[in-house]
Point group: C2
Chain length 364, copies 2
Amino acid sequence: MPLADVDTPALVIDLDAFERNLDCLARGIAAAGVRLRPHAKTHKCAPIVHRQMALGAVGACCQKVSEAEALVQAGVPDVLVSNQVVGSRKIARLVSMAREAKVGVCVDDADNTAAIGAAATAAGVRIDVLVEIDVGMARCGVAPGAEALALARRVAATEGLRFAGLQAYHGLAQHLRSHAERRAAIDSASALVRSTVELLAREGIPCETVAGAGTGTWEFEAASGVYNELQAGSYVFMDADYARNLDAAGAPVADFEQALFIYSTVVSSPVPERAVTDAGLKAFSAESGVPGIADIDSAAVAGVSDEHTTVDLSGSNVRLAVGDAVRLIPSHCDPTANLHDWYVCVRDGRVEAVWPIVARGCIW
Amino acid sequence: MPLADVDTPALVIDLDAFERNLDCLARGIAAAGVRLRPHAKTHKCAPIVHRQMALGAVGACCQKVSEAEALVQAGVPDVLVSNQVVGSRKIARLVSMAREAKVGVCVDDADNTAAIGAAATAAGVRIDVLVEIDVGMARCGVAPGAEALALARRVAATEGLRFAGLQAYHGLAQHLRSHAERRAAIDSASALVRSTVELLAREGIPCETVAGAGTGTWEFEAASGVYNELQAGSYVFMDADYARNLDAAGAPVADFEQALFIYSTVVSSPVPERAVTDAGLKAFSAESGVPGIADIDSAAVAGVSDEHTTVDLSGSNVRLAVGDAVRLIPSHCDPTANLHDWYVCVRDGRVEAVWPIVARGCIW
């Protein structure tokens, strides 16, 4: 089936670009001698996890128990919930999953640690636990150093839990635009991680895993000598926001290519320099900016609304008619994927596969 | 079941506020002597349409054929797709629906008009068609006046179609903050509509329906003397963006109350003045700003990410512990509802009903 026959709006993967992205990170990770546990919160899609694992990833991470359940049910053998799991019902589901797959979770609270341990013990399973430390993001995580040591000791002493190491993701660093700023942020994070790892080692608590990193900074964590398990996710698709990051020479980053598009149809063109398409805020997220437009030089998005994207062609030689298709570039891939039920996977203009977004809407 | 037992994140309707919103607009519309065809793109929920119709609404409008299908299948007898429907597959579905319900659609293109007419004729049905005119939004719609007349003539002459009137929605006016600005925008729109209606009348083409209006401006269209069918949608729920509109006295608008909330649990509180909840960009949309926080004075949202909202309590006397629940106020209700499968309907702190969001994800 040609792409042109796909009903719109549709979420489309350019398979050639997607596969190059997977290969690029797998090679970079292997060269650095660290592990890759890519984030499935980006794509929420089991066939993508299986492809990442075929290229060497040790498993997947995700943010929600329901996402982990969807992946385990689809045959993913090793899942880390790189987030806090709070409340007796969610904890019961987390430990229940550990009968079917290797399951890990992050903690930053003593009572929550105790609750997970009690549930795991009651279920007769053991859960891998990473202590989350705040290395500059000011979101979740205890302070590096003494606080981390205290919580690590508590995890190690809790029946049903195994202390597996540290979670140290620096989310704010991902979209710092200059290479130097991103490097400095991760240098700072790495120093905090290193001193904490050394403190724990002196106290007889080895950190098997030191996890973190994202698409914007993975090269720095990979080279840090202290992070050993990287969690980049968006690299599979890229988006307009990540594409604004700059490399060391000040040029747009080029390690990964745009592989995700919203395929959309022009439904109105009341004047020649304006085309309105059938994809809006229910087909892409826009909190990181309006989408870009692929394939058409000098076209600009003049506005987005719930079900429309208005394209300004006044600066372009291209004209679009009602019924023409365009490809929009999402500004933020993760919440965009969460709006769709499947990926239409395209190569050379033809649909090669349709992959279900099995964890779409899994917010629990 | 008490609200406190509901797993989070959950999309919650405060039924008392919701019912007051429905009553308020129904009374205002009745007093103005116009019709209400509320927009179901906001809530995507058949039980809400049925409640709106029980209070006098003549039917529903929506933006997509798939939304209309979901509503018709749930017993809604009269649906207007207040948007362009383009492409043979979507048009075939539109006309097919007309065997089960009264179906209308908007057009702003001659070829599209012909395609819908041909499909309706082939299916043996007749579709109500509104000619969409651009009254200041610069999105879809032909120009008022001669262009509208030409397209109306074409509709009236097309087998399978019935010219039903004009669609004249001014979306940009909805969020102009001052009452005077909103009034001026709708005065301008109404003048364009009136002259077009009069032109068509002189040419023997009566406009049975003149449709438009939204939650921000409905009072002006209702009083215009020319609009006779209003399409407000967000009034059922309200959101933080609409709440920034001001009334004639310069105070926040008070005709409708906030009735929609994201019920969310604190999953991390690494320091006393910071609480991180389990709802992020996959539980609410944020292109119109971060969500507000209900019930807690002087709390502020410090940031949102894919699965978290970070609450800054440094200016508040309230402290939140891991496991505590908070209610977030969505900044934009329509795309937020599209992220959930059901509404948890609450009165006096207890769950009274769960309503499926049947048209969630209906973007086709």
